[in-house]
């Protein structure tokens, strides 16, 4: 009995300690940003690996999500004779929720896991320790470019997700389901507010990008230096960042869009 309580306490303390270490790492990363200005090609390379290579999966996923939204929305809206609002439904759901959230989830799976595995393996093969021996700070040289590339990429990917999703919905709604294209766009423009819907979606995706990137580099940097440790860290990155994205999405949505409270 007492051992169960002890285990719970140990677990809570280890989570608290890890959160503290992650916060310290974030501080260290932010302080080091000016140093990166001299070596911007490091950032560029990571932007390519983290951002550009995630693009194909984002484009394909966005097209399908946009199309399935249009199809499902159409089936529901036509019962109320409101199929002219289809464009509005697709654009609002993408800009407010699906764009930032799905881009974040896909990014965590495609790039976050790779970052953790890479950094964890560097640690396991003592490359990071070797750098420290040469007086090169791995936080600056390895972690910072990857972290910043993630922070920059996720909002861009989320914007592209929303835009391409709308195009997918447009394609299905107008050319397959036969909604008038003028009605599709004008209903969308009347209902979607730039500040309220588009910008809030982008703020969300920025928060997601920050959290996923921090978690990915932290998990790699903090992994125990064994094959099993790297594997566990990679799994945890994907699981935790998915959970964090969904939970943060709920709290950010309730702050941004609720008119009742706050």
């Amino acid at each position: 009995m007492i051992s169960v309580i002890r285990k719970t306490g140990e677990f809570s303390l280890s989570i608290l300690a890890a959160t503290g270490r992650a916060a310290l790492l974030l501080l260290q990363l932010v302080v080091n940003i000016p140093l990166l200005a001299r070596r911007h090609e490091l950032l560029l390379e990571q932007l390519y690996r983290v951002g550009v290579l995630t693009l194909p999966i984002i484009v394909v996923a966005a097209l399908f999500v946009g199309m399935v939204l249009a199809l499902q929305g159409y089936n529901t809206l036509i019962d109320f004779g409101a199929e002219s609002s289809l464009g509005l439904l697709v654009a609002l759901s993408l800009c407010r929720e699906l764009g930032p959230v799905l881009a974040g989830l896909l990014f965590a799976g495609r790039a976050g896991a790779a970052l953790t595995a890479e950094i964890g393996l560097m640690k396991a093969t003592e490359q990071l320790a070797g750098m420290e021996m040469m007086a090169v700070d791995p936080v600056w040289r390895i972690l910072l470019p990857r972290f910043l590339a993630g922070v920059i990429s996720v909002p861009l990917l989320a914007i592209l997700f929303s835009a391409i999703g709308v195009i997918g919905g447009y394609f299905l709604g107008v050319s397959v389901l036969g909604i008038d294209q003028g009605v599709f766009w004008s209903a969308m423009q009347q209902g979607v507010d730039f500040q309220q819907d588009v910008m809030n979606g982008i703020y969300k995706s920025f928060v997601f990008g920050l959290l996923i990137s921090l978690l990915a580099v932290f998990m790699g940097y903090d992994a125990s230096a064994t094959p099993a440790g790297v594997a566990a860290a990679t799994t945890q990155t994907v699981v935790l960042s998915s959970l964090i994205v969904l939970a943060m999405d709920f709290s950010l949505t309730s702050m941004m869009f609720s008119r009742v409270m706050f």
């Binding site: 090609e41 560029l44 390379e45 932007l47 390519y48 951002g51 550009v52 693009l55 654009a91 800009c95 990429s153 909002p155 861009l156 990917l157 914007i159 592209l160 929303s162 835009a163 391409i164 709308v166 766009w185 969308m188 423009q189 009347q190 979607v192 507010d193 730039f194 819907d197 588009v198 982008i202």
Partner: protein
Amino acid sequence: MKRQFVEIVVGVFVIAGFVGLLFLSFSVSNLNSDAISDPYQVSARFDNIGGLKVGAPVTMAGVTIGRVRKIALDTDSYQANIVMDISDEYSKLPVDSSASIYTQGLLGEQFVSLEPGGEQRYLKEGDRLRLTQSAVILENLIGQLLFNNSAKGAKQ
């Protein structure tokens, strides 16, 4: 060679992101249709504005000529005082124009509709429309209908 390729591809990625943002702002949201160039303001008082909201269109003959800027309760007359921005493109509206609140479709958004009057003088900044017609409240209509029917029933 490799580095140049990476630079170009990253450049394309970032530009694509901004093009997407432009698409979202101008094609998907209402950023371009929101701005009215050099508006002048006209106010009107209504007994009841129903569900009218700030930003609702102001139309004449079905053409949008402005937007509702402010809605407040006038505590002297207990009427709703609304201020409208009207585009200076439409500066020749007679001073005795009347304003009504209508609904787009049966359950759509509410908007202000202006009917031109016959005066030769035109509305200018800060004027108030005297003739107004309140929004039709569906519940009141239904209530009246029920009341009329039961009154008829009592007579017979």
